[in-house]
Amino acid sequence: MKKLGLLLIVVLLLAPAVTAQDMAHEPWTCPEGYDGQTLSIFNWSTYIAEDTVPNFEEACGVTVNYDIYESNEAMLARIRQGNPGYDIIVPSGGTVQRMAEEMLLIPLDMEMIPNVANVIPDLLGAAYDPENEYSLPYQWGTVGVGYRTEVFPDGINSWDQVWEHDGPVAWLDDRQTMLGIAHLFLGNDPNTTDADEISAARDYLIDKGGNVVTVAADDGQVLLERGDVDIAIEYNGDILQISWDCECDDYAYAIPDEGSNVWIDNLSIPVDAPNPELANVFIDYILDAKVGADLTNYIWYASPNQASIESGYIDEEILNDPAIFPPAEQVAKLFAIIDVGAEAEELINNAWDELLIFLGQ
C-alpha cells in the first residue's frame, strides 16, 4: 500500500500550492423530478455538517432519513443481514472491495454525477475500486492519538507512550486498524491473513492494553472531552472537532512515528437500495465544490474535492493543518486496510472478541 502513500504525497504537494482562485461558483441545483421522494443515508457518527442534509432536502424537495453507525464492520453486518432500506452508505476502501466482491453494492451512474470532475484525479481509480464502478471518495484521513495536552505537555510521538501511560486510555473499535498497528511492531504486514500472526497481534495488544478502560465505538473524542480518558485512539477529524468546539488547546492529535492507518471513505449505494437514482443525485451534490467545502469545514477531515480546495471555500486553517494533511515523511509510514478475504475476516473477528474479553481481566 505504499502506492496510496505516494498518491497522498502528490495530493499534499498539490494542496498548499493552491491559492484561492475565487472561481465563480453556481450553487448546486437539483435535477427535476424527485419532489416528494425519500432518501435514506447510513453514515458514520459525527461525519456530516449540520446543514448538508437540510440543504439537500430543500434543493430537491425530498425527505432524508439519516442513521449512523460506528464501524465498517457494524455497517457491513447490517447490510449483509439484508439492506433494511438504505440508499447511501459510506464504507472505507477495503470495505468497498469486500462489498463489491459479495455483490452488496450497486454500480454508480456516472452520467448522473457530473461533479465527479471535481474529485482529485489521483484519488480516483484506487486499488480497491479501480474503475470507480461502485464508489467515489467522501473524505480521507488517518487514525492516530488524541490526547490531553495538560497530561502530555511535550506531545506524543510513539505508540509506546500510549501503551505505557499510567492513566485511563480509550482504544478505537476498528479491529483491522488496531491489529494492523500491532503488526507494525511485530514486523508483519498490517493486512496479514496468517492465523499465527493475527494471534500474535492479539496477544501483543492484550499485553499492551493494561491501561485501557474502554474500546470506544467511534466516540473516543467524547470520552476525552469529558475527561474520562487521557488518551483516545481515534480518527483525526473527530479529535479536531472537539478542539474546534471548545476553542482551546486542551486536546491535540498526533500520528505516532511508528506509523498508523490512512483511509479513504467512499460514497456507495448498497444492494436493494429503494431509491438508487436519488442516491446518485446525492453523491453529485456532495461532490459539489461549495457543499464539499462546507462539509470539510465542519467535520475537519481532508477533502478529496479539488474544486473545493482550489475555490478557496475551505478554511486556510484546515488546509495548513498537519493533522489533516500530514507531512510527506509521515504519509510514507501509513498503511491502508485492504480486503483480507472471508477466512482472515473470521480470524480477525474471533481475535477481536477475545481481545475484548481479556483486556478487561
Binding site: 447490517r78 443481514q81 478502560v213 480518558v229 472478541d353 477475545e354
Partner: protein, 293 residues
C-alpha cells in the same frame, strides 16, 4: 326459579365458557408467532455454522457452544456474579426500605414514601444510567466533591469499571426488590410478632422465625425480578462498564454487529436463557417449599 329457565341459563353459560377459549385464541396465536417461534429459530440457529457475513448455514455444529464455554466463559461467570451481587445488595438495601415504608402508620406517609421509590423509575432508563456517568466520571461530580473537600488528591477511576456497572444495576433494579417485599410486609399481621414476644422470643428470633418466613414470598419474587434482568443487562454495562465491566449482553450485541456471527450470538443467548430458566426454577421450588412450610 322455574326449571326450564335454569337449564336455559346453563347452556348459555356453557356457551360463554366455550367462547372463552375462542377469546384466548388470537392472543395465543400472536404470542406463538412473535415470541415462541422466534425463540425456536434462535435455538436452531445456535446449532448452525457461521456462513460468510455471519449468517447461519448448514451443517449443524456444536462449535458455538464450545466457544461459549471456552473463551466467553469468563464473561458469563462475570455476568452471573455481578447479577448475584446486585441481587444481594438490592436485598440488603431494599428489605429495610420496604419494611420502613410498610410500617408507616399514616396511609399518606406510606403512599408518599412508596411514591419516592417509584418516581425515579418513570424517567427514561437511558437517562437514569447516563446520570451515573456524570456522577462517576473522572471529572465528575463525586470526584469534584472529594477533590474540593480534600479527601483525595487524584481523581478516582470509577467509571468504566465493574464497580460502576454494579452501581448502575443496583440503581436500575432496586425498586423491583422493594415493591414485592413491600406488598408482602403490608399484608403481614404484626400480631404474630406480639405472639412471638409473648412466647419469650427476642428481636433476632422474632425476625428470623416469624417476620422473615412470612415475608419470604416477597423476598423470593424480588430476588428473581432483580437477578434476571441483571444477568442480561446490556445498556448498563454499555454506558458504564467499558472493557472492564463488559457483560454477556454486550458480547451478544457484538455478534449481531461488528463481529458478525449470528450463530454464536444465538448460542450465547440460549446459554443466558438457560441461566435465567434455572434461576426461575429455583424460585418456583423455593416458593413452593415456603408455601408448604
Amino acid at each position: 326459579m322455574d326449571r326450564q329457565f335454569s337449564l336455559d341459563m346453563k347452556t348459555r353459560w356453557g356457551h360463554m365458557k366455550k367462547s372463552g377459549a375462542l377469546l384466548a385464541l388470537p392472543t395465543i396465536a400472536w404470542l406463538f408467532i412473535f415470541f415462541v417461534l422466534p425463540l425456536l429459530i434462535v435455538l436452531v440457529v445456535s446449532f448452525l455454522s457461521r456462513g460468510r457475513g455471519g449468517v447461519a448455514l448448514l451443517p449443524f455444529t456444536l462449535q458455538h457452544y464450545e466457544r461459549t464455554f471456552d473463551v466467553f466463559f469468563i464473561i458469563l461467570r462475570r455476568s452471573i456474579s455481578l447479577a448475584g451481587l446486585t441481587t444481594v445488595i438490592c436485598l440488603l438495601v431494599g428489605y429495610p426500605l420496604a419494611f420502613f415504608i410498610s410500617t408507616r402508620r399514616r396511609r399518606l406517609v406510606q403512599q408518599i414514601t412508596l411514591f419516592l421509590v417509584i418516581l425515579p423509575f418513570w424517567t427514561n432508563f437511558l437517562i437514569r444510567t447516563y446520570a451515573w456517568r456524570i456522577l462517576l466520571g473522572e471529572q465528575g461530580t463525586i470526584n469534584g466533591l472529594l477533590l474540593s473537600v480534600g479527601v483525595i488528591d487524584e481523581p478516582l477511576t470509577m467509571l468504566n469499571t465493574q464497580f460502576a456497572v454494579l452501581v448502575g444495576l443496583v440503581y436500575g433494579f432496586l425498586p423491583f426488590m422493594v415493591l414485592p417485599i413491600y406488598a408482602s410486609v403490608e399484608r403481614f399481621n404484626f400480631r404474630y410478632v406480639d405472639a412471638a414476644y409473648d412466647l419469650g422470643a427476642n428481636d433476632a428470633r422474632a425476625f428470623l422465625r416469624v417476620i422473615l418466613p412470612l415475608t419470604m414470598p416477597g423476598v423470593l419474587a424480588g430476588c428473581a425480578l432483580v437477578f434476571i434482568p441483571s444477568v442480561g443487562a446490556f445498556v448498563t454495562p454499555d454506558l458504564l462498564g467499558g472493557t472492564r465491566g463488559l457483560m454477556i449482553g454486550n458480547l451478544i450485541n457484538k455478534q449481531f454487529g461488528g463481529s458478525g456471527n449470528m450463530p454464536l450470538g444465538s448460542a450465547l443467548s440460549i446459554v443466558m436463557m438457560a441461566v435465567v430458566m434455572l434461576s426461575l426454577l429455583v424460585y418456583v421450588f423455593a416458593n413452593r417449599r415456603e408455601r408448604g412450610a
